[in-house]
Symmetry: C2
Subunit: 369 residues, 2 copies
């Protein structure tokens, strides 16, 4: 099947590039004796999760219980890296089959209380990693004393089990080549945390961390045992712009069709916010909402829901209505979340496809109307 037989906009993944990305991250983790626990939020697909496990991942990371209920089909070791709060959400988490080791990452006493009550209700052990704030100020306990108090609380409440500490350095957005100072501060923070927990009599078996901009430098963080990268499997324009991958490592594109060239200096494609998301490039220069794979100087300068406006003022290229283009999105995790099916390509051929199994929230309709 060729690209012109596909209805656009449609997500394509270059199979060879994806395989190379998967291999490279597993090799990096192996080289530095880090456990690789890929974050499945990027792909939400059993097919890709299976590829990660086959290559040697220790388990998978999820953002929600819904994602965990899907990923239980390819691994026996799941981390929900998010405080699971609320009766309905906790009950869903415990529908994961008994053979799966469950771990939850959290940062507050109320979340521990709720998780404990659910674990008792379902008569099941759950491991807990306590998240400390490494500087992003999103979630994570700011004070190590408070983090240690939470760990004590976990240990006092079986069937909860304290298994270690976690962090997410999402505030480090500098390009890879300018991260030295930020990474040194992070290194210090992680070392402090490990030392504090050790002195409190709870040396953390798991020290879980890492982020996309810092993914290839995780081993510089002394004490870290586990990394949870997500984006690396597909990569995107942001990852390339900050230097955490090369442009040719971008496996994921949105195939789109030029639908209008009526207005001078631009071409309109059928990929807008509902196909690309509206995610700015952060941590690096980069205008627009995506760029063409074959012409990175041409960017999606403006968007409506189903319109993307290609700015042609930076290029001599003048496309015809009907021509297809491939857009590298700024942030691929959002684009996955917009789609139900991904098409796998090799060269100009569409050779396979897979479903985005954990897209959406997994709610059935309540009452027909």
């Amino acid at each position: 099947m060729t690209f012109d037989q596909l209805e656009t906009p449609v997500p394509l993944v270059d199979l060879d590039v994806m395989a190379r990305n998967l291999d490279a991250m597993q090799a990096y983790a192996d080289q530095h004796q880090l456990q690789l626990r890929p974050h499945t939020k990027t792909h939400k697909s059993l097919h890709v999760g299976r590829e990660q496990m086959t290559r040697g991942a220790a388990g998978l990371t999820c953002a929600t219980p819904h994602e965990a209920t899907v990923m239980q089909h390819v691994t026996d070791d799941l981390l929900v890296a998010y405080p699971v709060v609320g009766h309905a959400k906790l009950d869903r988490l415990f529908t994961v089959r008994d053979e799966v080791a469950l771990r939850v990452q959290l940062d507050n006493a109320e979340a521990i209380d709720q998780l404990y009550a659910a674990a008792v209700r379902h008569d099941r052990a759950v491991a807990v990693t306590v998240e400390f704030d490494a500087g992003m100020h999103r979630v994570g306990v700011p004070s190590l004393d408070d983090a240690i108090a939470l760990a004590h609380m976990v240990r006092a409440n079986p069937p909860l089990e304290f298994s270690g500490i976690a962090f997410y350095p999402g505030h480090i957005r500098e390009p890879v080549t300018s991260q030295d100072a930020a990474l040194e501060r992070l290194r210090h923070k992680v070392a402090q945390a490990v030392q504090a927990f050790t002195e409190a009599g709870m040396p953390p078996a798991v020290v879980s961390g890492g982020s996309t901009p810092t993914m290839w430098r995780s081993h510089e963080l002394t004490g870290i045992t586990e990394i949870r990268p997500g984006t690396y499997v597909y990569n995107d324009r942001t990852t390339a712009e900050i230097g955490a991958c090369k442009w040719e490592d971008c496996a994921f594109t949105v195939l789109a069709t030029v639908v209008s060239t009526s207005v001078r200096g631009q071409a309109v494609i059928d990929a807008g916010t509902k196909a690309l998301g509206r995610e700015p490039i952060r941590g690096a220069n980069g205008e627009g909402w995506g760029a063409l794979l074959d012409r990175p100087e041409v960017v999606v300068a403006r968007m409506s829901e189903e319109h993307g406006i290609l700015d042609l003022t930076t290029s001599d290229w003048r496309p015809q209505v009907g021509e297809q283009v491939r857009v590298v999105p700024n942030h691929v995790c959002i684009v996955t979340h917009l789609n139900d099916v991904i098409f796998g390509v090799r060269g100009g051929e569409v050779v396979t496809s897979w479903t985005v199994d954990a897209r959406g929230r997994g709610y059935g309709a309540l009452i027909g109307v």
Copy 2:
């Protein structure tokens, strides 16, 4: 069923507010003898499309052939307000059942060529409205002479049928109370277009236009016959901020749960970009990515994929972990597109739900892997 039994984040629609919004728009159209052809991109649901048709809509508007294949089940009169380009997309359009009158809105000769070839291939008449650029510079023919040439081309190519002209004044983003000058320019442009087509011997039977910010002033555009509003059914924070609806007309909220209050001055909810989209308020002041229904001064100041950071510095309110909140999103059409099911509520009760039937792209998986 009560809200605390729902797994968050989850979209809720207040049934009474939606009914009031539907009634008000139909009454406005009737009062001014305008055909109402609601844009279904906002809701993508057969349930809501049926509610619109029952109240007197002339037909429905879609952005894509996929949406048309869904909406064919509630009306016999469909407009795809978008240049339908590409073999696969055109073939999908023609799967719509024969009893449905199809109209396509376009702005270029290549789109006419392709539509003509498909209409011949499928032996089916298709009405065409030619879109002119009313100032937005997105799609739409900039020159009326060129627009007239396209109309001639349509007329010369049965089974295509020229049925009139269309525009989308998406550049008018001013609050309703500051639109006078922009609306006067638009009035002039529309009158010019009608006159030019009439003088060319093709008085347009259909003059189709309107946008959300201008929706209640469409009747001021002399010659307009049809309006295609979308957002009015649910409304959103942008619509309220620009004064095109009141805050209490916002029928759609995302129910979310506070999952962390670890960092001072903020509370983290489980609704981030994957639940709210990342759509700025345009055409009006308004920070953040959404605001709380009951506390509009509290906004979602920052987001990650599954995290929304509520800025508490503007409020004395200090929520507990586990507390639920209702977020009015900035742009509801994007939020619909993220969800498969909408829950209908009345007061604090969940009383029904409906599916987002036209969400996604409707592609089946190609080959299992």
